[in-house]
């Protein structure tokens, strides 16, 4: 590991000033579960590490049944699933929070960090997409908001510009008869990376027999986590049935554009996109029905 500077700003403005002019060479430190390993193994280099955990907005966790969830970018997974109201309101998010690493990792790892690391296989991103999350970004020109599905632009690449960093993630409060689920396929039962990940959320009618809204997202089947808008559009207004869910799963399979690599083949990943979308939707439906 090479030597680098280390800074601990306490305000958003101070952090932006530190990052300005570094042209992406500076690295933000949140839980460090990706960054420290990457620096140690020489997979990334940097001249400056900025620890943002002393900035209040970055570690803030606030939930309100009307305004929704404001999740500071450095809030670790364990804090999230330690809150009963949040667990009840954002089930898909919690599914992914409990899948990321082991207990020790979950004590440090954050959703903001997972997002900024921008792995196509990140577990939390499809979950955040189906919870309609948006990203609050601070920069030299003030703050802006970007939908989570638009945040990643490629493997390890994001929309963050020079001087910008992710402050928090916002998720709207779930409507009634809402349900969500995230699952992934891994060859083992733990300690693994998704071959394919799938998230789904649904809002059902009063009878619980018709989709009012739905969102489907996939991981590890494209250069970035993928919102499958076609599937959500198709489901809206349709009755809850095996045929309908299967068709949404087929649309997810169509949308997937994976590559062959050592973790899976194109055919396997496309096939799993349908299988996991179907399973995620049924679990989300079960949860929406209560």
């Amino acid at each position: 590991m090479q030597a680098f500077d280390f800074a601990t700003p306490t305000t958003v403005a101070e952090a932006v000033e530190l990052l300005m002019g570094r042209n992406g060479d500076a690295r933000i430190l949140s839980g460090g579960t990706d960054l420290i390993a990457q620096l140690k193994e020489g997979r990334r280099t940097t001249s400056l590490v900025v620890d943002v955990k002393r900035i209040p907005e970055v570690t803030e966790l606030r939930y309100h049944p009307e305004s929704g969830l404001k999740l500071g970018a450095a809030v670790p997974c364990v804090v999230l699933y330690g809150d009963k109201e949040i667990v009840a309101a954002y089930p898909g998010l919690i599914d992914s929070a409990t899948l990321i690493g082991g207990k020790q990792i979950q004590g440090r790892a954050s959703f903001g960090g997972n997002l900024c690391n921008a792995s196509p296989a990140a577990d939390s991103i499809p979950a955040m997409i189906v919870h309609s999350a948006s990203c609050l970004i601070a920069g030299p020109d003030g703050q802006r908001s970007v939908a989570v599905e638009a945040f990643c632009t490629g493997p390890g690449q994001t929309v963050l510009r020079d001087g910008e960093f992710l402050v928090a993630i916002h998720m709207p409060a779930p409507p009634v008869r809402f349900g969500a689920h995230y699952l992934r396929f891994i060859p083992r039962n733990e300690m693994d990376i998704a071959v394919v990940g799938a998230g789904a959320s649904v809002v059902l009618d009063e009878a619980g027999e018709r989709f009012e809204q739905a969102r489907v997202a996939l991981g590890a089947v494209a250069p970035t986590p993928l919102l499958v808008a076609e599937a959500g559009e198709y489901l809206a207004g349709k009755p809850v049935s095996e045929d309908v869910v299967d068709e949404a799963a087929r649309l997810a399979k169509e949308a997937a554009r994976p590559i062959d690599d050592m973790r899976g083949s194109v055919r396997q990943r496309k096939h799993l996109s349908a299988v996991l979308t179907r399973r995620a939707l049924w679990k989300a439906i079960e949860r929406a029905r209560g």
Binding site: M1, Q2, E41, G42, F185, P187, R188, N189, E190, M191, D192, I193, V195, M262, R263, G264, S265, R267, Q268, H271, L272, V275
Partner: protein, 761 residues
């Protein structure tokens, strides 16, 4: 569960007082409180830290190495390359689980003229910190002329394959052939008339199998500290299965008298055969010499461990077997091609023994090929070669049984070898317990339990391992409080401090807690072969038995002096020495001779040859998710003839460990290479050993058919249990989904492919 079928050890005076109990291990407290010193825990004054430059290519000629820039980095004290190694001739040495040529070892430790695999060591740096050493390594300039790599065993055997070692010539059935080749040797076992055997068969099954490269997966990475002292004496601290083997290799590779090398074994976090050969040990010694005789430490990271140590062979295996309708095997033919990595020495020899060892056969032919490819040099891995071989043969046995419509255990029983039968490669079996494992499996509740639910299946498979005797030495002395200090040279991997101390306590009729075993360095005890070949509880335990007899004899002499009677009149029983009504306790004598007599010490050395082989039979239930191809292990039972379980918990632990590794090999473990020979998955994220959540509790049945060649009937137990799992799991998958899986690993992707192929056909 322990089933004692036969108690005949030569010292068989059961019921035993100590053997068969489950006392605490002497090294337990240190290990669970983090005080035990493992390889990377060694720190010496003025110690330097090393880092290795490794080849980014699978096959290339080294045209130049420029280390000058690295040498100029402040804090760098030494840089070494192969130019610093003495030139050595062919020297064959037996590491315990295979013979290696030390000329190749030298080439493996630091690449000579070519790099032969991705990760091959090229140069090493010693500096005042690891960070400096790592940065300096990046400044070493190596020019490579790229050569085409060959990674697949059958590709490497072709006439037009790229040649890896220019001087290699095939040893064809014992005779050297002319011409460059990647085939190091061809061996053959033949019996009877194959044509006649197959003509007598009603059913013939022939299948081809492929297995991937797998690593031993020990948790502790390789680590070594070397001190090349000003007086020319070299001391190495390292995590190893055999300190004497490391001593001998360092001595030969550096051309030093063996008495100028001391190896101090640390605690070891797993080896499974992968910590018999040297990697870092000669390098840290060379660095220390060049760095002004300061000690140098090198510790590999996980990527280096996977890239450059281990692994065991990928293989291509073809098996053909014939049987009659009433379930008698009539003939068998096996062809095994094992890749050895970049240097000769795959375990195809032992694979060729394992593949048909459990069965009576009048007509057989086995061909084995040892083939080099551009992968890391293969090292021994628990029952080397056995898992691949039994995967193939046990699947064919299962298929024959299914076609005939016979219970697979019954089919095996009809053909099982017993005492007096000849093994496929020639030797005649002494008393063995294969049949007993089959009976125990048949009677086990697991085998009778109904298997309900969709996509669930049950499989069985058997396996053989020959075990090893080797040489063992121990020394012991009696303390004034009547306890015994036991010095041994066998690194303790599976609880052998306990199992050896228990045999000494049983022999001397003293309490287990009164034996204090200690694993010592190569200067402090007589020669010991490595902890490998499932030999330690058997062989070093035997040495402890011998030393116990000597100590008791000496104590009898002391008792005779103290009681003032003839030696011949002294009897010893239950810790009491007696003669004509007078008696003295063991501890009382120990205390009195401390005051007036001379200390009681003894040493013993053994080289036993009758290391009874082990047989195991495994039962496994699986569930296959037909949509994802994932296999869940629902229930697992391992039955094994263990001879005599000295410490049953540690024997059960060996069975658990063998099954866990075998299941990992069966389902997910494999090296993934790109076309240029780069290893893509050199981490535990993508090289998938099983986690605790991937296995159920593994049930064990210890069948005790005493080995007549050991005082307490011990057989080696560590390796047999990794032989059957892959075959058992494959047979269970067939039972669940009707597909014969013929490649390892049987990963979700390959099972999906097989299911799709089944649908399409």
């Amino acid at each position: 569960m322990t089933l004692t079928r036969d108690k005949k050890g030569v010292a068989g005076k059961a019921p035993y007082k100590v053997i068969g109990t489950r006392p605490l291990r002497p090294d337990g407290a240190d290990k669970v409180t983090g005080k035990a010193v493992y390889g990377a825990d060694v720190h010496l004054p003025a110690m330097l830290y090393g880092a290795m430059l490794r080849s980014p290519h699978a096959h290339a000629r080294i045209s130049s190495i420029d280390t000058s820039e690295a040498e100029r980095v402040p804090g760098v004290k030494a840089v070494v390359t192969a130019a610093d190694l003495p030139v050595i001739q062919d020297i064959l040495t037996d590491l315990g689980e295979g013979v290696v040529n030390l000329r190749y070892t030298s080439n493996n430790v630091l690449a000579h003229d070519k790099v032969l695999y991705h990760g091959h060591a090229v140069a090493a740096v010693a500096a005042t910190s690891t960070a400096i050493a790592e940065e300096a390594v990046k400044l070493i300039k190596v020019e490579y002329d790229l050569l085409p790599p060959v990674l697949d065993v059958l590709e490497a055997m072709k006439d037009d394959a790229p040649i890896i070692l220019e001087d290699l010539r095939t040893t064809e059935l014992g005779e050297k052939r002319e011409g460059q080749t990647n085939i190091a040797s061809h061996i053959q076992h033949r019996r009877g008339d194959l044509e006649q055997g197959f003509a007598a068969a009603d059913i013939i099954v022939e299948r081809e199998f492929r297995t991937g490269t797998v690593h031993q997966g020990y948790i502790e990475p390789h680590s070594a500290v070397g001190l090349y002292n000003d007086d020319g004496h070299v001391t190495v601290w390292c995590s190893t299965q055999g300190a004497f083997g490391i001593r001998n290799q360092v001595s030969e590779l550096l051309k030093l008298p063996v008495s100028d090398v001391t190896v101090i074994p640390t605690e070891i976090g797993g080896g499974f055969g992968g910590k018999l050969g040297v990697y870092l040990e000669p390098v840290v010694a060379l660095l220390s010499k060049k760095a002004g005789h300061r000690p140098v430490k090198m510790t590999m990271n996980r990527t280096e461990v996977l890239q450059a140590t281990g692994p065991t062979s990928a293989s291509y295996i073809r098996v053909k077997m014939g049987a009659t309708r009433d379930g008698k095997l009539t003939a068998a033919e096996a062809y095994l091609a094992y890749d050895a990595g970049a240097f000769p020495g795959s375990p195809v020899g032992s694979a060729a023994v394992v593949i048909l060892a459990p069965y009576k056969l009048d007509h057989l032919l086995i061909d084995g090929y040892d083939v080099i490819v551009n992968k890391p040099r293969s090292a021994a891995y628990r029952a080397p070669g056995g898992t691949n071989a039994a995967y193939a043969s046990e699947a064919v046995i299962d298929e024959l049984a299914k076609i005939i419509g016979m219970d697979p255990l019954e089919f095996r029983l009809k053909n099982a070898v017993t005492e007096g039968d000849r093994r496929a490669d020639g030797p005649v079996y002494a008393r063995i317990g294969f049949v007993e494992t089959l009976h125990a499996a048949q009677e086990h509740p697991h085998y009778r339990a109904p298997l309900e639910g969709k996509h669930r299946g049950r499989g069985v498979a058997s396996g053989f391992w020959n075990n090893w005797g080797g040489r063992s030495s121990v020394s012991a002395s009696i303390n004034p409080d009547g306890s015994v200090n036991l010095l041994e040279g066998s690194p303790d991997i599976g609880g052998t401090r306990a199992s050896i101390a228990m045999q000494l306590a049983e022999t001397m009729e003293i309490a287990y807690e009164d034996v204090h075993p200690r694993v010592v360095d190569t200067d402090s005890v007589g020669y010991n072969d490595a902890t490998g070949g499932s030999r330690t509880t058997f062989g070093t335990g035997w040495a402890a038995y011998e030393v116990g007899l000597k100590l008791i004899d000496e104590m009898k002499r002391q008792a005779a002096d103290l009681l003032e009677v003839d030696l011949e009149s002294i009897a010893y029983e239950n810790g009491i020495f007696s003669s004509n009504g007078d008696s003295l306790g063991f501890k009382e004598i120990a205390e009195r001779i401390d005051e007036s007599g001379h200390p009681v010490v003894a040493s013993a050395s053994v080289h036993p040859e009758e290391f009874g082989p082990g047989f195991g039979t495994h039962i496994v239930d699986v569930e296959v998710d037909p949509e994802t191809g994932k296999v869940e292990i629902l229930r697992y039972t391992a039955v094994q003839d263990v001879g005599k379980a000295i410490h049953p918990s540690y024997v059960e632990g060996q069975l658990h460990g063998g099954v866990a590794q075998g299941v990992g090999w069966a389902l997910n473990e494999e090296y993934v290479y790109d076309d240029e020979g780069h290893l893509l998955n050199a981490s535990f994220l993508d090289y998938r050993i099983p986690t605790a959540l991937d296995l159920p509790m593994i049930d064990t049945v210890l069948v005790e058919v005493a080995n007549p060649g050991h005082p307490f009937g011990v057989r080696g137990v560590g390796e047999t249990p990794i032989v059957p799992p892959a075959g058992a799991v494959a047979n269970a998958i067939y039972d669940a989904i009707g597909v014969r899986m013929t490649t390892l690993p049987m990963s979700p992707g390959t099972i999906l492919e097989a299911l799709w192929a089944q649908e399409e056909s």
